[in-house]
């Protein structure tokens, strides 16, 4: 089984990636990077990462989230985070990235924030 499974769905012009697994060095990072690259190629630049199924992220995974964020921003888009587990919230707090990322625990609120 892949380290990170990503399912894509669309809500208006926002693309939601439902992620399940680990974002860690190796397969998990590569899966996220490939998904973001593909969305940009398809012109999808409003992206909501649903991390509800992600139980583990290491520093490489945090780095990949940051890279995704800066890549989308460079393209004039927005990347936001949904359903952070407590552990991931802690890691983003330790790294002061909670001040960078827009995070939500309700999908409807997250979707409205893109408008």
């Amino acid at each position: 089984m892949a380290e990170l499974n990503i399912k894509e769905r669309q809500a208006g012009d926002v693309t939601i990636l439902d992620m399940d697994g680990k974002i860690t060095i190796g397969d998990g990072n590569v899966a996220l990077r490939s998904a973001i690259r593909r969305l940009i190629e398809e012109g999808k630049k409003k992206i909501l990462l649903n991390l509800g199924g992600v139980g583990y992220v290491d520093s490489s995974g945090i780095g990949e989230l940051v890279s995704s964020y800066t890549t989308i921003q460079r393209e004039g888009g927005q990347l936001k985070l949904l359903n952070l587990t407590q552990k991931i919230q802690d890691l983003l707090g330790i790294t002061k990235l909670l001040t960078v990322f827009d995070t939500y625990d309700e999908e409807s609120k997250a979707l409205n924030s893109f408008k």
Partner: protein
């Protein structure tokens, strides 16, 4: 009294990261560490082995990464040795400073220091860098 030791010699590749973290976390679980502590120990070992594989040994699979754990009911010590040229942890930029916050890397040492009680680096007498991490109960 419960005692645990782990000794692993692993090739410098990404797969070694999960293997080392899994073996250490299993031993820590047998020593009775709580779930929160296990998360931190697993994370710190991942970061130390990632650094050894990618930076210390430069991804050269022929260079080993040695991981050792020695633990009792009171706590554990994990060491990770690479065959690199050594490095100065104080020279690593603070990833939480504004100018570094959007950099894609540089957070591993912060996690090691956050989740373990003591972390130190030394030159190994036979070459390479030895990182030593302590976690008390």
């Amino acid at each position: 009294m419960t005692e645990e030791t782990v000794e692993l010699t692993l090739p410098s590749r990404v797969e070694s990261v999960a293997e080392a973290a899994g073996a250490v976390a299993d031993a820590a679980r047998r020593l009775g560490f709580a779930e929160d502590a296990l998360f931190g120990i697993d994370m710190a070992v991942r970061e130390a082995v990632t650094n050894a594989v990618l930076h210390g040994n430069g991804g050269d699979e022929s260079k080993p990464v040695e991981v050792a754990l020695s633990g009792t009911d009171e706590g554990l010590v994990v060491t990770v040795r690479d065959r690199g040229q050594g490095f100065d942890p104080e020279a690593v930029a603070d990833p939480t400073r504004e100018e570094n916050i959007l950099k894609p890397s540089g957070r591993g040492i912060l996690f090691m220091r956050t989740f373990m009680d003591e972390v130190s680096w030394a030159r190994h007498p036979s070459g390479g860098t030895l990182v030593r991490m302590t976690k008390r109960k």
